[in-house]
Symmetry: C2
């Protein structure tokens, strides 16, 4: 008999049917009685003082039910809450501008009307008097003493700063045989979920407001909306319908949420706001473009001795969660390799551009592009195989880094081997004809955050409730957000396995701040490990109760019982047993009360000294994922066009609760980062978006895609549920440097700024 | 300081604002994406065989998305499930007729279309071939051997039969000084909620169906829909929006619920069905009209020695919950007086009329009219004051009846005294000028059922979950249905009192079979005692946990602490304390897990021998309510018109959790039964409804209403939460006989069939 009945299997998702049939309701699909349509007036200036807003004409337009401006918002700035020990940063944005606008697209006023056309027309009738201010778009320019000051609190427009020094970097470089220093740059990348941000809000005169939100973080949105409206958190209810993708962009709480709530309050009717694609591209967070000066010192054998990393990120007009990004850019350099001496200076700079925040592979993707490119450059200088330098430095289970990361499991070496084998490394690397090449890069990511950044006093990081039904089914309550990644299926599989029932016996309720237990949300690749452990605990407690009931009924020793296939029976004697339904009924008969259990998860407290957080010297996560992607490319030296033939993507997810879901995550990641490597580039001129549509902003399509071979590596992590770690953001990281390294192998030129366009390749070939 | 902070106070209802503003969403108000409108084709014959149904033309009509007939329904008859120890009865109805129709209005086919007009038009296009059968409308005719047989299983058309014999009735009559035998009749009365039956169903291709239902019993509807569709109960989710009245008519699961689900399944879109007023009047359950032969034997001093009661009820075409009604008609005669010897024969008869079921005062109202009228007749013969004969026979706390009813508390005598005092009995009874009079009648009812009639293996009769929030608020999950009676406010007050927090700290979630714990529903006046006790248990457990946390924090003994005003503090030293919110946070910090508790209630098991159920010799309820209404009337002997000036209504509700709500229940009851006494009468000819609208079916309006003086009597029941018993159906019972007795006092004629119309009064005066 197989070890597991439900987990480790590629079962169809619990929401597969409703998504395939179109029955699944997304926020924009849901009608509400008396619903109005909300639209937002946005700034046409990159930097200006708002002198006067006259909404009179708009209010008089037939069909307009409410108009609001910054005056209607409380003086508590809109933005992520922050709890110790996160680095200090300002909540620097109001859902509607109060005094100044800071980028073209900044929210200025909003209208609710009986249809979208009237709302649009009303926007045109709002008169705003601006005093234009000098603006700045380049972060290095913005750091100059005479640059326009975008926020009063930010000297030299520094939005956030992080500074780590672990070990002794000077000594490390002195002891190095080779020290290399390089300059890298990355571009703006937009999240581009197929479902844009959407919200419907229904404010009751009882003082409560209910919101349906396309979000990764309903409990966080609850706080943000309460603050913007100046009402208690308990008066805000956030319900998460089906969500069509987030990728980090829906982990930030966006202005439309409190705006819809305020419009509804003023109009006395429900109000829906759905971003247009242009708004989605311009007016939500995006990935930080960064400028990195990276210095790496190594011994002759390739052993890394020291790293000195200086990063400047263009943060755009507001903070969002960007200050954390800057912290993570430093933190994530402490893997997947052992860095004995490490120094990092990161600066996030305000400019008059759209703001940047978390995006899949948050804080790790840019860094990985830099380091994995440089490892290949170093290997070449030292005449080492790129596989060898990675193996030599790779973190292993049991390691503790100078940054106090505890490596509980690592499939890093196995990932390198399996990805390189799959791509045919031995036969191809350095051996393919001119124009063809292979490359590899490794990966390192957290499985959730070790700290509560956004909640001061949560009951737990993840809570799960489980209730038994008479028919042997169970209802699982979780506050997590399935945003398309399949987390509800994974949680259901975990609970079903633990309970010994089939997957269809689990009904999941998620997420609703009034009903489901608090969960921090879907970000930092935390759900499988955090909510998974909570689900496992709840199910395990439930199982224990049912085994006790069954032991009594079967007159058997509890240790001799097994729960499997919707039955509880004596091991080895399946006929001597009762159904799970019978066990539940027996419990009801004996106890005369409902049967429910709770589970929760908090990251282990062996994380080091939290007071060292801002020194970058504290464990960031319960555990870490590893992986390696190998790419095979072909470059047309005439046109500069790159064709990626194949990506062999190995990912150490600890244990694959649902292998098909892990493969889906890997394939989605390859698509996403293949796009960032070669195609995607959000371009601006003087603060104006040049390509705010899918015509101009080039996402890869199915025909562009390389062949993807997903390789699941299972290191059976001791902290994860059944050994599982994340398979969400980590998979999104190593494709870009693998492609860059393969291009170098193919044509001998190294592109160090993204995206790798034909123009850059032709220019590099010319200069070579 | 007052004993209680939250209970015992007339606090506004928790849903007062949303109902006053119109924000509250009822089933018919709720839009659903892609929603269709359902309509039902009904039988135009009182009794006929359905030979053929051709839906071809209807299906071809543009805009029609689904047409269903009886063939689409499973062979499990629609109707209330039944669990031991209820008397046996048949589930005798299909949601759509399979072979026969049995009354004009019986469901035959149904259509879902894009609007109501097209659905109506499609009904006209359905061709049905009927073979008309002989019909019977009068129950006595229907009992004759040669009467048309309406259901194959029912010989002599007897739908249900109940037969009790407690003590020795013959001996009782022999020992009596006076034996009186009388004949009474009552009419059809319709429930007439302002919100008619309504349902929206959304069947997913995943196999699950969600229904929004205007219902008193969501968990019961869940089972009925699952049976009709042939799917597991767990695949049916019933959500109860706000409900605009039920009065017992929404405790039966109606055909539109499974019909909407089936239409949705076939159409692949949500389907809503809302009864027209005509359908609401004709095609839902109504109060049984009864014919009663009642024989009472008494001693000279008025002491009751024996009662022999024979009842024939016109059940109409189907059972509904009617067989239970027949049982209750016997059972409820064992109070509010001690009946040492009691015999009862009840027969419920099928006829080709709309079916009858539970209505407020279920099984007790008709009986009370009979007995309370006869007590006055007997008192007159014996020259006793009507108050005296009631006091002499009245049940007292500590009594156990021959039917094994345990009287844990009784405010009966106090109710008689306070109601009679309020009406000015001593100065008025027998002393008012001709044409004016006063009358009194007593009351007796259950506080919930002692048995589970509809669920075979429930976890408990009522379950409540409670979850603590960081801000010191609590979410209360209950499966009960607030149908306008204010039960959610009462449950919130109970929880708030126990927790020592203010009412606005409690948020109630109710009811949703997927989310809220199982509760049998809102019927048999059970919610305050059953769910109230469950809420009290959950809150008490929560309080204990918070007191432990506070004791530690305050370094105090737990017994010295008090929870009140959202704080926990040392008794007598309010400054030495912490807020409830602080206690919750302290729990989170210490335990690192969510804080929730559960409560449940099951009726006490000292109910006697359940196997004696069908002999009428078992305790029916955890406890019983009492009361007395006194009425003052004026009768115009020229016209026969009765004017009721005042009703003084005393009700022993044990303890008034919310006095304003109790007063509301009393006032609503007086309106409802004043209507039944004098106005309401559903009339039929040859199976056709003669007055299926509020024009012809006369509900009392505000201008008709007598002055009502609500008198709350508090007997502090040991089984009720804080002493509370029901204040829901009991209040609905004694107004009719009080008015009948007052009319006799005014003009010396006794009307023994309802309603008491001017015609009947004039005829009686003539015959006098």
């Amino acid at each position: 008999m197989e070890k597991y009945s439900v987990i480790g299997k590629s079962l169809p998702r619990v929401d597969a049917v409703v998504k395939a049939t179109g029955e699944a309701k997304y926020t924009a699909d849901m009608p509400h009685s008396g619903m109005l349509h909300g639209k937002i007036l946005r700034s046409p200036y990159p930097h200006a003082r708002v002198l006067m807003i006259d909404t009179t004409k708009a209010e008089r337009l037939l069909g307009v039910k409410a108009v609001i401006t910054g005056k209607d918002i409380t003086n508590i700035p809109h933005g992520p809450a922050r709890a110790a020990p996160a680095p200090p940063w300002f909540k620097d944005k109001f859902a509607l501008a109060k005094e100044k606008v800071r980028y073209i697209g900044d929210e200025v006023a909003a209208v609710a009307a009986i249809d979208e056309d009237i709302a649009e027309e009303a926007l045109d009738l709002i008169e705003v008097e601006y005093e234009e201010l000098p603006s700045v778009f380049d972060p290095k320019e913005a750091m100059k003493p005479d640059a326009p000051r975008i926020h009063d609190h930010a000297e030299r427009n520094i939005s956030a700063h992080a500074s780590f020094h672990l070990g002794d970097v000077e000594k490390g470089f002195q002891e190095s045989d080779l020290v290399m220093e390089e300059h890298f740059e990355t571009q703006y990348v937009c999240h581009s979920p197929l479902e844009p941000h959407a919200v419907a809000a229904d404010f009751s005169q009882s003082g409560e407001v209910t919101l349906w939100v396309s979000t990764q973080t309903p409990f966080f949105d609850q706080v943000v909306v309460a603050e913007a409206l100046g009402i208690p958190v308990s008066k805000v209810r956030v319900i998460k319908p089906h969500v069509g993708g987030g990728f980090g962009g829906k982990a930030d709480s966006n202005p439309p949420f409190p705006i819809a709530a305020l419009l509804s309050k003023k109009a006395g009717r429900p109000v829906k706001i759905v971003h247009t694609r242009e708004e989605e591209i311009v007016c939500t967070a995006r990935r930080h473009p960064v400028i990195v000066e990276q210095k790496i010192g190594v011994k002759k054998d390739g052993r890394i001795m020291a790293v000195d990393s200086r990063l400047i990120a263009n943060g755009g007009a507001y903070n969002s969660i960007g200050p954390l990004t800057i912290y993570l850019h430093g933190g994530f350099q402490n893997g997947p390799y052992m860095i004995p001496n490490f120094k990092y200076e990161g600066n996030r700079i305000y400019t008059n551009k759209p703001f940047c925040g978390p995006q899949r592979g948050h804080g790790a993707l840019q860094t990985r592009f830099v380091v994995e490119s440089m490892l290949d450059m170093i290997a070449e200088k030292l005449d080492l195989d790129p596989l060898e330098i990675r193996r030599k430095n790779g973190l292993k289970a049991g390691d503790i880094t100078p940054s106090k990361f505890i490596i509980r499991s690592s499939g890093h070496i196995e990932s390198i081997e399996r990805a390189s084998d799959e791509i045919g490394w031995k036969d191809k690397w350095g051996k393919l004809p001119e124009g063809k090449g292979v490359g590899i890069a490794s990966n390192f990511f957290v499985s959730g955050a070790g700290f509560s950044f956004f909640f001061d006093n949560p009951p737990s990081h993840s809570g799960v409730n489980l209730e038994a039904k008479e028919d042997g089914g169970f209802t699982l309550f979780t506050g997590t957000s399935d945003i398309g990644q399949g987390s509800l299926t994974v949680l259901s599989q975990i609970a079903a396995e633990e309970l010994g029932v089939s997957l269809d016996q689990i009904r999941v309720i998620a997420a609703d701040t009034a009903i489901t237990p608090l969960d921090f949300g879907s970000f930092s690749s935390r759900v499988t490990l955090f909510a998974g452990n909570a689900a496992k605990m709840a199910a395990s407690r439930m199982r224990q109760i049912l085994l006790e009931v069954a032991a009594e009924s079967l007159e058997a020793n509890i240790d001799d019982l097994e729960a499997r296939g919707n039955r509880i029976y004596v091991k080895g004697s399946p006929e001597k047993g009762i159904s799970v339904s019978e066990a539940v009924r027996a419990y009801f008969q004996e106890k005369k009360e409902p049967l429910s259990t709770k589970g929760h998860y908090n990251p282990p407290i062996d994380v080091g000294d939290a007071s060292r957080f801002d020194k970058g010297e504290v464990n960031m996560s319960p555990t870490f994922s590893f992986g390696a992607h190998a790419a095979e490319v072909e470059v047309d030296k005439e046109t500069g066009m790159v064709k990626v033939h194949k990506v062999a993507a190995a990912h150490d997810c600890g244990f694959a609760i649902n292998p098909m879901s892990v493969e889906g995550q890997i394939e989605g990641s390859v698509s996403m980062t293949f796009g960032q490597a070669l195609l995607e580039d959000f371009q601006m001129e003087k603060g104006w978006a040049m390509n705010p549509s899918f015509l101009g902003y080039k996402l890869p399509t199915a025909v562009d895609m390389p062949q993807v071979k997903s390789i699941i590596v299972e290191s059976l992590d001791p902290e994860g549920p059944f050994g599982a770690k994340e398979a969400s953001e980590g998979t999104n990281i190593p494709t870009i440097p693998a492609i860059a390294n393969a291009i170098y192998d193919a044509i001998g030129v190294r592109i160090k700024d993204l995206p790798i366009t034909p123009e850059k390749i032709l220019k590099a070939l010319e200069e070579n």
